[in-house]
Amino acid sequence: MRSVSPLWLAFLLAPAALTMLVFVAWPLLGAFRYAFFDFNGLATAGFAGLHNFTDVLFEPPWSAWTFQALRHNIVVFAALMIVQNGLAYLIAFALLKALPGHRLHQVIVFLPVVLSAVIVGFLWKLLLHPLFGVVNALLAAIHIQGPPWLGDAETALPSIILANLWHWTGFPALIFLAAMQRIPAETLEAARLDGATDGVLLRRIIWPLVAPAATIIFTLTFIGSFNWFELPYVMAGLSGAPGGATDVLGLYFYRTAFGSVSSGLQDFGHGSALAVLMFAFLAAVSSVALRLLRRREVDIG
């Protein structure tokens, strides 16, 4: 490692440092500052104290919207944790066996991951159309009358979760797979010689050994579920149709900050308060969860 002239160093470091300063650090500070102000368009219009925060948390109708959206995010998170990650774990195990065609399967399961959420959202919106969609056509072929999917408050959110499942399952699957492939072959061989079935392998041997990968996947699932925006925006619209049944924090935040189609009202003060609360919530939960998950890695490893 050598020392060089400060000028050459500054030349190398300045572009990246300046970009980060201007487009990450400064806006981030701004996000906290703005939450304490009233806004008139793009300009601040007086100190607001804590009232932006108290409004969105306790003052109806804000509070009702906030907690309805939060509830939906929690449902999304739970569903993705169990179904998407569970499926991914099974698929990873199936791929680990390296049966004929496993490389092709790997490419197939990851294909939707590279598509944009906008394409995936519109595609599933068409597939789930109650009258002309393929899904209900397939169900009709086995004499099942399909539900109106996105049109019904009961099935709308699960429909978007299904699209998310299709879009993203390949991602945790291949991360689990990479972790499983790092387990020494002798370990698995020894367990098998002791008579361990696939079920036992999955639960007792592999699960603890892929705990670090699980930590990352769980954290990403959490952050992803609470930043959910594109899919519900495309499939259910900015107001979370029908009747707010699919409203999530991302949509609610965007509507508050930049206005909806019906009302072009921008409200940067309340929007910023929401952003700060979401940021604090994500940071707090992920740091506690990370600590617990890391401890779990040690305990079961």
Binding site: W8, L12, A16, R33, A94, S116, L126, V134, I175
Partner: protein, 274 residues
Amino acid sequence: MKADRLSAGLIQALLLLNALFMLTPIAVMGLSAFKTNAELFASPMALPEAFSLDNLRTIFRETSFLLYLGNSVLITAASVAVLLVFATMASYAMARYAFRGRETLLLLFLAGLMVPLKLAIIPLFVQLDWLGLIDSRPGLVLVYVAMGLPSAIFILTGFLRALPGELEEAARIEGASEARVLWQIMLPLARPALIIAGIQNAVPIWNDFFFPLVFLTTDRLKTLPQGLTVFMGEFNTDWGVLFAGLTLSALPITLCYILLSKQFIAGLTQGAVK
């Protein structure tokens, strides 16, 4: 063993079912692009009767598809290029030179990995407006560069640190300048890491919808995901055209993925696996 064969069969069945689930929507999308509306509504699962090219023609003649596509290519290419140049310069300095505060600086850059920039969208918007960069390509590009720098620096410093020093020293003894060592000796060696960092950032930028939605309002500047929402609205009831639009929009990245699937998978799962 019988049990082994049984479980192998079960596993193959699981994989086949999964492949069917993953591929059917894409097959339906691609095939429906060649169907008339009458065919689509009568039998959504059937093969197209005549492979009509009318829907594709409509997309090219009556929508701004090519314009949106061009914008996406331009913005993605510019963002990734600037990003890789900035990230390589900074990573090189932090990986190969000794100076005070080096570790702290690196940590500050990596702290950016934790920042969900979406939540800072309001101040970002105000700031771009103040800089006169709202509703402009350079503004969007700079935001993408900032967003991608932490992960690119993470990958590149790790890689550059591990490179051996002999070549570098030999070049210096022959009188090569520091800039020449970076450009002609180290950069070619860093190619694998540059490809990974490039793909890791190019895919999310290409697919991004949120930032263009907020920052770009002029139709002439819109990117493909954003443009898609425009013509999905316009051709609302013309399903053949909708499917054709989706197929054409998915085509570029799908082709790249099929050609470079190994690099795509490595690039996109990299951050998580390490």
